[in-house]
Every structure is written in C-alpha cells, then in structure tokens.
Amino acid sequence: MMDTFVQILISGIALGFLYALVSLSFVVLLKATGHFNLLPGSFVLLGAYALFQFHKNFGIEFWISLLLAILVVTALGLAIQYVIFQRIERTADQHAAGLAILLVSIGLLSLSQATAVSSWGAEVLLLGDPWGLSTLRLGAINIPVRDIWVIILSVVVLLVFWLVIQHTRVGVGMRALASDSQAAYVQGISPRKVAPVAWLMSAAAAVIAGVLMATEAGGGLRPTLDVVAFTALPALILGGIRSLPGCVAGGLVLGVLQQLANGYAPAALGQQFATVLPWIIMIVVLLVRPSGLFATREFRRA
C-alpha cells in the first residue's frame, strides 16, 4: 500500500518536473518577446523529432543528438523571431501585435505538426533512448529509470536557468527588459543580445521536456506531442506566469495531484478525470486568486 503510494508520488514528481520545464519554456519566451505564444508546443514536437532524426537516422550519440536538436530548434525560433515576429511588431500596434503573434504561432503549430507527419509518418516511433522500460528496484518499490532521469535532468536545467537569470549579465538584462523595457533600453541593454539567449533557454527547456515525453516509458514519439505540451498550461497559470519558482511549484503540485488522481480516484468520478483535474484546479484558482498561487504582490493580470 505504502509502496504504491511512493511509486505514484515519484511518477507524479517526474510528471510535475516535465510540466515545469514546458511552462518554463512558455514563461521565458513570454519574457523575451513580450507576447504570449504557443511556439513551445512546436518546440516540444520538433525537438523530439529532430533528436530522432539525429540519433536513429544519422546514428549520432544520444546526448550529442540532444544538443544538436536544441540548437536546431533555437535556430528555428530565432528565424521565426526575426522574419515574422519583428515584422508584425513593426506594422501593428501593441494590442493587435499580441493577438497577431499568438495567431501566427497557432499557424506555425499546424505547420510543425504537418512537417512531422509528412517527414516521419503518423505512427508511434521508438526514440531509442538509453533508458527504455528498465526500472530500478528499491525494496518493493519499482521506479522507472526514465523517471529518475527526468528528475535529474530537470533539476540540472532549472539550476542552470536560475544561475543564468540571477547571476549573469545576460540574465540581469533579461529581467530588466521584462520588468521595464524602456528603462532597460536607456541603460544600454540591447534586446538583440538578450533575445538569442532567451530563445536558447526556451528551446532547451521545451526540447528536453519533449524528448523525455517521447521516451519509450513516456509513450513513444508521436505527432500529438504538442497537444501533450498544452497540458502544462494549467501549471503555468497556477505558478502565476512570471516567476520561475512559481512554475516549478505549480508543475509539481499538478503533477503529483494528477498521478494521485490516476491511482486513487474512485470510478464514480468518471473517465478521464485525471486528465481534466489540472484544468479544474486551474479554474478554481482563477476564481479565487486570479494572479496565481505564487504571484508577487504588485502583480497585475496582464
């Protein structure tokens, strides 16, 4: 009884870290571009497929493929930023630009899905990850090795992000631009220098999350991964959208609750209850505290 609980808890934490990574990708992108968009969904999808291409089709080492996939997706993101987003920002006013960029990202999302299906087919592929379905036995508890790696990788990524944002020049510039872009310009912080780093961070978080979701234990590589990425959106809201620790906390809370519901929810609650639980929690939170559970004081719903 206790053993199953611990197992569920660990898988919940792993799921929570995945949510945290994806919502982090959304947050960093929101800060870098100033507009909310759904591109992390396509990053998750294309990153996983890029890794498949490098690792399985070109036979490159898994970890090197992962790095290559991150670089490819970053390049793609920067191309989108310079070719499409900046054009829209130049021509439209602030409110219209926000809507237009969101809509463009929806278009790009359809395109990336079509690209994946056209190039790699619609059926589930095996990524060939080093973990497979192997499990680690600790007494009576079975922990999938993949879950352990999810936790390790996520913690490493989060630590790196935290160090970059808090303790480097670029990170300070990023925070300055996010809090007051006009003042940041005046201080000589160039968005041109900050943007590539932000896109790299967003792409890295999304690609790593995507690859981990596409592992054999995660259900395999499939063209619907971008929709899976959207299930991280409640974590984003729960964490109050701007704060990095908020994302992690929101992700962990939802991941654990979802897995607990998966394991223990009575049948009377109906099918798909665990899937919809994060969205229900999100709506309750929006009703009670629209600024998220971990929002700072001066936060406004923007």
Binding site: L30, F36, I84, R87, I88, T91, A92, H95, A96, G98, L99, A100, L102, L103, V104, I106, G107, L108, L109, S110, L111, Q113, A114, V117, S118, S119, W120, G121, A122, E123, V227, F230, L233, P234, L236, I237, I241, G270, Q271, Q272, F273, T275, V276, W279, I280, M282, I283, L286, L287, P290, R301, A302
Partner: protein
C-alpha cells in the same frame, strides 16, 4: 457635403448628417446589397437545382462552420476578446439538439429555441470568469473549457453515448413542412437539400443580425471598449453589460452551429469537439477577416473547401502522396496533412501581409476589377452636382 462654417462661430448642426447617414446604412454599396439578396436566393435555389451530394454536404459544412464563426467573430473580432473555446459551445448546442430534437423528438422550432437559449446561458455563465481575465489567462481558460467540456460529455453517457458517440437523427419538421423530406410543388427533395436550405437561411439570418447589431448602440459600445476601454468607460459605457451581450451572442451562435453539425452528420461523439476544432475556428475568423461581416463566411468557405478539394484532386497537386502510416522513403505531404499546411501558411501570410483578411483582399480586387464603372459613375456624379 456641408462643412463647418468659417464665419467665426462654430456651427456644427447638420454638418455630420451625411456622414452619419452613410455610416448607419445597412449596405454600404450596391454590390453588398444585391450580393446579399442574390446569396439568399441562392440558398433556396441552389439545393433545389442540384442533387450532387458532394456539393451539398460541402455546402452544409461551410454553413454550420459559418454560423459558429460569425458568433466567434463577435467576440474575437468586434469585442477584441480571445476565445479559443468555441468547440465547447458547439458541443453544448449539439447535445441540446440531441436531447430535445432526437431523444425527445420535438419539432424543429422547439429544439432550435432550446439550443439558442441554452447556448446563450452557457456563454453568460462563462463570461464573468473570462471577463475578469486578460491576455494569457483568458486564452488558457478558453483552452481549459474544451478539455472540461470533453470530460463532462464523455461521462454523461445517457445523453452522449460516451467515447464511442451515438447516432442522432434530428427531427427537422415545422408543422407540416419537414426539411428532412421536403415536398415542394409536388416534387420531393432529399434530406441534404432540405438541410442545406435551412442552414444557409440561418447563416443569412445570423450575418444580418450581427451586422445590424454592430450598427446599434450596443455594438458600438463593444467596439469602443475594444479600441479604448478607458475612454469608453469615461463616456458612460458599462463594460460588463456590453461584454456579457457579446459572450451570449457568440455562444448562442456557436451552439446553433453545433446543432446543425449534428443534423449534418446524424452522429455525434464528444471527441469531435477538440482542440483542433478550436484552432480551426480561430483560423477561419482570422483568415476571413476579423470584425468584418463577410469574413467568417469567406473564411469557412476557404477552410472547409480545401480539405475536400485536396482529397478530390490529389493527383494534380505536386508533393502530395497518399495517406499511409509508414514512411515509404519518399518525402511528400500526405493528403490528410495538406489542408493543415495550407491553414498554417495562410494564417502566417495573412497576419504578416494583410491582417484585415481575405475579405479585404476580395474588396480591393473587386474595386480594381470594376474600376471603369466607378470612373463613369464618378463623372456622372460631378456633372449632376454642377447642374
């Protein structure tokens, strides 16, 4: 046109009469006036003159997508809110129609009324929550609606038949007139012909209604709130009341679209009202042209016609290959994915180069094509003025 007098005292009385009159005119030009009449006639004549089920079913699909998109356009276009959850309201309308029109087998006017009322009420229930939020929060909330709607309808098995869906033949009779087996002048018409007529009459009705509404004070309040909320509030507009109305109209029309969706397929499953459909609606209203009367219809026509035409004429389009689940070594776009590519490209191009949408492009093209006519009428106009 009368202008502000230059005699020192500012006399504005009557100065803007002509402008206001032109602004409130229902049809801005003869083209749209006769176009609307022609289309309404076509809605009745076209189904009577053809029995091609391919054309008819495409027409019906465009019709119900148009109705729901006209509703969404009120919210996303005129009101400037962001709602990606239109499938939620389609699902509500669809299942209301199933309950009243199929299970209880009530006549058409009764279940249509129920669909509209329940749709509007559901929109007004969502509105207070959505209106408190802005930007990202509103978007994510509307996505959440889709997932929660699916959960509710999958588990409400008595009504919906669960995941596998249910057959739902709707009662399409009004008194002695039965649109399911129409009898006109001794001629019998098929289910699809009757439904086509019904759906397009409602498209015309919804278009006209929204068009008129946007010229009424209520509609102008909504647009004012979108463009300058603070100024609108200072001018005494109640934001909550105006936006409530926008939500109610949007969701009622969404529900109506959903009801006709069931009438077309005569089958319904909760899986149909998914995230993909929400994205399709966003694409329809944007590609067609946000905040335009014709936008949703033009958008639906383009977006619904592409997949059907692509699968019919696949062999003439380069880079297309048959649907197959296994990669066969050749790179090509599967037929099923072709429309997705077109949607994506269309959306990106429209937003980059012509955010006013296809409607505007058509208008520009029509003006260019009829240039000689305009020149002549302009000349006629000036001579008249001189005389």
């Amino acid at each position: 046109m009368a202008t502000v007098a230059s005699t020192g005292t500012l006399r504005t009385k009557g100065a803007f009469d002509e402008r206001i009159r032109r602004e409130v005119r229902v049809f801005q030009s003869p083209v749209t006036r006769y176009g609307a009449v022609l289309l309404t006639v076509l809605a009745v004549v076209l189904p009577l003159s053809t029995a091609d089920s391919f054309l008819l079913s495409l027409g019906i699909t465009v019709g119900f997508f148009s109705i729901a998109a006209i509703g969404l356009n009120v919210l996303n276009g005129y009101a400037g809110q962001i709602n990606m959850g239109q499938p939620f309201f389609l699902a509500i309308g669809a299942y209301t129609a199933v309950g009243f029109g199929s299970i209880m087998n009530l006549p058409l006017p009764v279940w249509l009324l129920a669909v509209v009322v329940i749709g509007a009420v559901s929109g007004m229930l969502v509105a207070p929550l959505a209106l408190r939020l802005k930007g990202v929060y509103q978007i994510v909330l509307s996505l959440g609606l889709i997932f929660i709607g699916q959960y509710i309808f999958v588990n409400w098995t008595d009504l919906t038949g669960g995941v596998s869906g249910r057959k739902a033949p709707l009662n399409l009779s009004v008194g002695t007139l039965d649109f399911a087996a129409l009898q006109l002048g001794g001629m019998g018409y098929s289910y699809q012909q009757g439904l086509f007529m019904l759906v397009w009459l409602f498209v015309a009705l919804c278009m006209f209604l929204v068009h008129l509404l946007m010229k009424s004070p209520g509609g102008r309040h909504i647009v004012a709130l979108r463009d300058a909320e603070l100024a609108a509030r200072v001018a005494g507009i109640n934001p909550a009341r105006s936006m409530f109305g926008a939500y109610a109209i949007s969701s009622a029309m969404g529900a109506l679209g959903g009801a006709f969706y069931v009438a077309q397929l005569r089958f319904v499953s909760p899986e149909q009202f998914n995230l993909g459909m929400g994205l399709t609606f966003i694409i329809i209203v944007t590609v067609g042209g946000l905040a335009t009367a014709w936008g949703p219809v033009v958008g639906s026509l383009v977006i619904c016609a592409i997949p059907v035409l692509a699968s019919r004429y696949a062999e003439y389009i380069p880079f297309l290959k048959a649907n197959s689940s296994t990669p066969d070594g050749t790179w090509g776009i599967p037929v099923g994915q072709f429309p997705v590519v077109v949607y994506g490209v269309l959306l990106v191009l429209i937003l980059m180069f012509e955010p006013r949408g296809l409607t505007h492009l058509i208008k520009v093209f029509a003006l260019w094509a009829t240039r000689p006519l305009h020149r002549r009428s302009a000349v006629a106009g000036t001579t008249e003025g001189n005389a």
